[in-house]
Symmetry: C2
Subunit: 362 residues, 2 copies
């Protein structure tokens, strides 16, 4: 990303775009174009509304956290008739609830869901949901912002119609890029959709891919970094990348529960992050700030009704075993500092027992 910039309307940059397109297709598990937007993930989410729908269209969305809620806000902004499937924070949506919504609202055109709901660290059952939408004339749009690169979501094979992600999660880059790919049935819907769009006009971006170009000035330095990030993932091997995320997630769960913390989402944990409930009586916001500002270990806190009640441990993207060791050790130390008796090393030991699976042979 620190290389001198090359102009974006040059054969040199076209070659970069061609190379990253190949890597993105592999990552998304699709033969379709993966469009690169200069925006954060929310921009790509918006494009998945304005490019697929017309005013008054019926859609279903899963609301089990901050990002599920965002689908609802987008649908409302653009005048859709949005049927909400509310899900308790920390739970995954049950596919039966989606089947029931589709029965109750047979005019539904699109289902919007997160793969990994970042605010609760829940993994929704995308595979099962895709079986429902594939069997009907309903599109499935998946926000994969904290899922792509952490868990295998081969969109063509699963029958996901639209998959969205951002640069700053599994792709290990700074924020500033968003990605979106559409199935052929989704592209057919784009032709019919009448909601207005310009900067996020995906048909225009798709034309760009054919010409190894972008509709608007691309975020050149981040795309130069993307080339390297995709090469790192290819070199590690995507199956190994997913296995690493699974291992780090299991180690985090083992380490945090071994010191007596409860998981917010024990039944459907995300490979991207782990949310742990803090013991009653612990000043969660204070401990979060103490960890960040005094111990220099940054976690994410809780949002809205979970503010001060949970700590989220990220293990997504450029993360390895010793980041988990650091995270669990920091929690052990901070808990003790905040008045909860903890046997130091107990959580770390439990995490190590899982992390050992990833050791290379001697």
């Amino acid at each position: 990303m620190s290389l001198p910039l090359i102009h974006h309307r040059t054969p040199q940059f076209a070659a970069v775009l061609g190379e990253v397109q190949e890597g993105l297709r592999e990552l998304f598990g699709t033969k379709e174009d993966v469009l690169i937007l200069a925006a954060s993930g929310t921009g790509a989410m918006e494009s998945a509304v304005t490019n697929l729908c017309s005013p008054g269209d019926e859609v279903v969305f899963v609301n089990g956290g901050k990002f599920g809620e965002r689908w609802g806000k987008l649908a409302k902004t653009y005048g859709l008739v949005a049927h909400e499937i509310p899900v308790e924070w920390g739970r995954a949506v049950r596919p039966e609830a989606i089947a029931a919504a589709l029965e109750a609202h047979p005019g539904t055109r699109v289902v919007y869901v997160q793969a990994s709901e970042t605010s609760t660290c829940v993994l929704h059952p995308v595979r099962a949901i895709a079986e429902l939408t594939r069997a009907r004339d309903v599109l499935l749009v998946v926000d994969g912002i904290t899922a792509v690169g952490a868990v295998d979501l081969p969109m063509d094979r699963l029958g996901i119609d639209v998959l969205v992600t951002g640069s700053q999660k599994g792709l290990m880059l700074p924020p500033g890029l968003a990605f979106i790919a559409l199935s052929s049935r989704a592209w057919a819907a784009v032709q019919r959709a009448t909601l207005p769009r310009f900067y996020f006009d995906l048909a225009r971006e798709r034309k760009g891919v054919a010409e190894r170009s972008t509709a608007w000035t691309p975020a050149i330095s981040l795309i130069q970094g993307l080339r390297v990030a995709l090469e790192m993932m290819r070199s590690e091997g995507l199956p190994n990348v997913y296995a690493r995320h699974d291992r780090l997630a299991r180690a985090t769960r083992a380490g945090t529960t071994a010191i007596g913390l409860r998981l917010l989402a024990p039944d459907a944990p995300s490979p991207a992050g782990t949310a742990v409930l803090l013991p009653d009586g612990v000043d969660g916001s204070g401990m979060f700030r103490y960890l960040r500002d005094r111990m220099r270990v940054t976690f994410a806190g809780g949002q809205d009704q979970l503010k001060g009640k949970i700590i989220r441990v990220a293990h997504l993207g450029y993360v390895g075993s010793f980041d988990i060791v650091t995270g669990v050790a920091a929690l052990e130390l901070a808990l003790r500092q905040f008045g909860t008796p903890v046997e130091l090393g107990r959580g770390v030991g439990a995490a190590e027992a899982i992390l050992a699976e990833g050791l290379p042979a001697r």
Copy 2:
């Protein structure tokens, strides 16, 4: 930009946002908030349509090149009644033409114009246009993408209602950020405007500025770079920055005309770039590629009807005297290579005579 990323919801990043906000206000010449979007400039242009207008609103736009045309496309996408003021490519709009349009269409709510029309290297008379709109209940939106940082456009003093720019021009950064500031009358219009917007919801971004935050995940590394870029401009001194651009522009015009090239926009040249017409019979596209791929000196070519007919010399942002020397020398050499007799050094000498004005005292 190569610093380790800091999380965007931290006091550390809030401090960065506070610092760049101050520098941006100075650059825009406004006491209003300057909003930072993760997008390229077109995204901010779109936001200046969707946040100010309602379907069916009457607007006037100046179309004197690729970017003027874009205002028209945006207006059409969002169902506005857009009155076009067509301007010959290479000419500036006459303020009288705008006055006449406002007379003819008294219901006009907004005038959209470029300060510097990048495709033709023309500087439109924003100051005179602002006098017209200030005297009426009409907002003036200025695309300053290739003007902000190159020419003084103090928005509060001139009475510009909305000023837009991007990161990759006067601000010397990679692309990926867009900026927009609104006057108090523009903010009043935002309250009434009913066009849908979500990612580009400026009221939401404005709330963020007060909290030293952004509505969506910001392009962190570029904003870290922005802090440095603004510091560089402050250290050079904004009046010196504008004087440098003026000097480089005059040197480019002197150098290119001294070797017999004609200017596309002699009457209203932009301080951001200079468009020169290639001699009849010269293979312009071939010469452009020869310069870029064989001589390793990249210019911009012409767009649409000017393709192959002009070469655009950029002198915007991180550019100094010897870039102009290189550019003019490269044109001298390439012209001779493509069959046009040129006295080598003549153009460079004419440029140097102007560049000498910027020499420090011995």
